[in-house]
Amino acid sequence: MSQQTIKFTLNGVPTRVTVPVQMSALEMIRNVAGLTGTKYGCGEGECGACTIQLDGVSLNSCLLFAVECDGRQVTTVEGLAGDALGQKIEKAFVEAGAVQCGFCTPGMVVQARQLLATNPRPSREEIQRGIEGNLCRCTGYVKIIDAIEAASKDSLPPAPLPGEGGDGRSLRSGLNKE
């Protein structure tokens, strides 16, 4: 089995790991880097529980090859703990009762941050569209949408996460960043 050593920034911390080339970024984050906030739900990109940000763009880490993280900025839900907008979303989720079993929450929070960073004042419909890649089997979504709406109400322009452009969005993938 072919192994590859990659270097990247995980929640702002320079990280170096050696992984099998076919390993997913999700397995690498959970089992090699040891950050278990990001969840394995379906393994097929249907449920969004494994949502992370790569260079400031949200994606399903179960569909991402770990080797693709090489030279790039990876942000997981743990990395939002020190982020003003991330904290606002966390607080709003708690206050709105948007967390029941909690399994979808890390993915929801990361995706909510992506949504609010690109669209700071979304309508409820835009919030629904924004989280259409995240499944929740408990809440019926209403309280999650309430929480994201509440977080958007008093949100200041977000400080960029590592890898994001100054305007909070960076859709270009990380070319030759290493």
Partner: protein, 290 residues
């Protein structure tokens, strides 16, 4: 078949096509959104080398070249939808992108990957066919870089099968800028808006001038082993006014020319009915709004 034992991440097109020629057995990785689940499910076996092509600058970007828009193979669906050239000249692709999976997958999945995955239900394929797109392929069999181009419909051979040669890379898709008066529609029919594999999809495009529809292209997804031309419907529509009789004849022709299968998403009968009804609805919409 040997197990995966090598990983390469070329940083130029030149390097990539040379490696493809030399290494032989190579699995190409772009966005990974199809490759990862397909390899897990055993539907795709890794070849000896995994080649990550995402570090190749020549495969990124969207530019206008003469009367064409060149969309780099690594353009993600999100990048496609947000690009000013696409929004201005190819709004059909924006509409199709809006129905594509979820935000997370649109941020990772690439146009080139969607084409090379060659799913009969691939969401960008039908609209690209309606727009008359060509794929641009590159290889380096000897000392010179060899490029060729092919109309998109010819590229598809069957589910997951294309005419891409083993040592060849899909570098871009080229879309002619549609003429004045061009109207187009894309309709994807599934059970929910997000993350759904379509039961059928339909694209219609053409130039509508003084009520007459010309240069008509019709394409269907998920009704055959590849996305297909709705050639019979096209012929009915070409040069006609979009009146009730023409629309009815085109919808009937569309139903009769497709030969779908029954699977978990829909029965063959249902697919034919949907092709008929949605073709009719789309044409009525075009007729009423232009």
């Amino acid at each position: 078949m040997t197990a995966l034992d090598n990983y390469v991440a070329p940083t130029s097109l030149e390097q990539a096509v040379v490696q493809l020629q030399e290494l032989g057995e190579v699995t190409i990785l772009a966005g990974g959104t199809d490759l990862m689940p397909q390899s897990h499910a055993g539907r795709v076996k890794f070849k000896r080398t995994l080649m990550n092509i995402r570090r190749i600058p020549e495969l990124h970007g969207i530019v206008r070249e003469g009367d064409e828009i060149r969309i780099g193979a690594l353009t993600t669906i999100t990048e496609l939808m947000e690009h000013p050239l696409v929004r201005e000249h190819l709004p059909l692709l924006v509409e199709a992108g809006d129905h594509f999976a979820s935000a997370q997958i649109r941020n990772a999945g690439t146009v080139g990957g969607n084409i090379c995955n060659a799913s009969p239900a691939g969401d960008t394929l039908v609209p690209l066919m309606v727009l008359g797109a060509h794929v641009e392929l590159a290889s380096k069999p000897d000392d010179t870089l060899f490029r060729r181009s092919m109309p998109l419909p010819e590229f598809f051979v069957g589910p997951g099968k294309t005419r891409l040669a083993p040592a060849e890379l899909l570098t871009a898709v080229r879309v002619p800028i549609p003429p004045k008066g061009f109207v187009a529609r894309f309709h994807k029919f599934g059970t929910r808006p997000a993350l759904d594999i379509s039961a059928i999809s339909i694209g219609v495009g053409g130039v509508l001038k003084n009520g007459v529809f010309t240069d008509v292209r019709v394409a269907f997804g998920a009704v055959a082993p590849t996305p297909v031309c709705g050639c019979a419907a096209q012929e009915v529509l070409e040069g006609k006014r979009l009146d009730a009789a023409t629309i009815a004849a085109a919808a009937a022709a569309a139903r009769d020319e497709v030969h779908p299968i029954s699977d978990v998403r829909a029965s063959a009968w249902y697919r034919k009915e949907m092709i008929h009804n949605m073709t009719k609805r789309i044409l009525e919409d075009v007729s009423a709004n232009h």
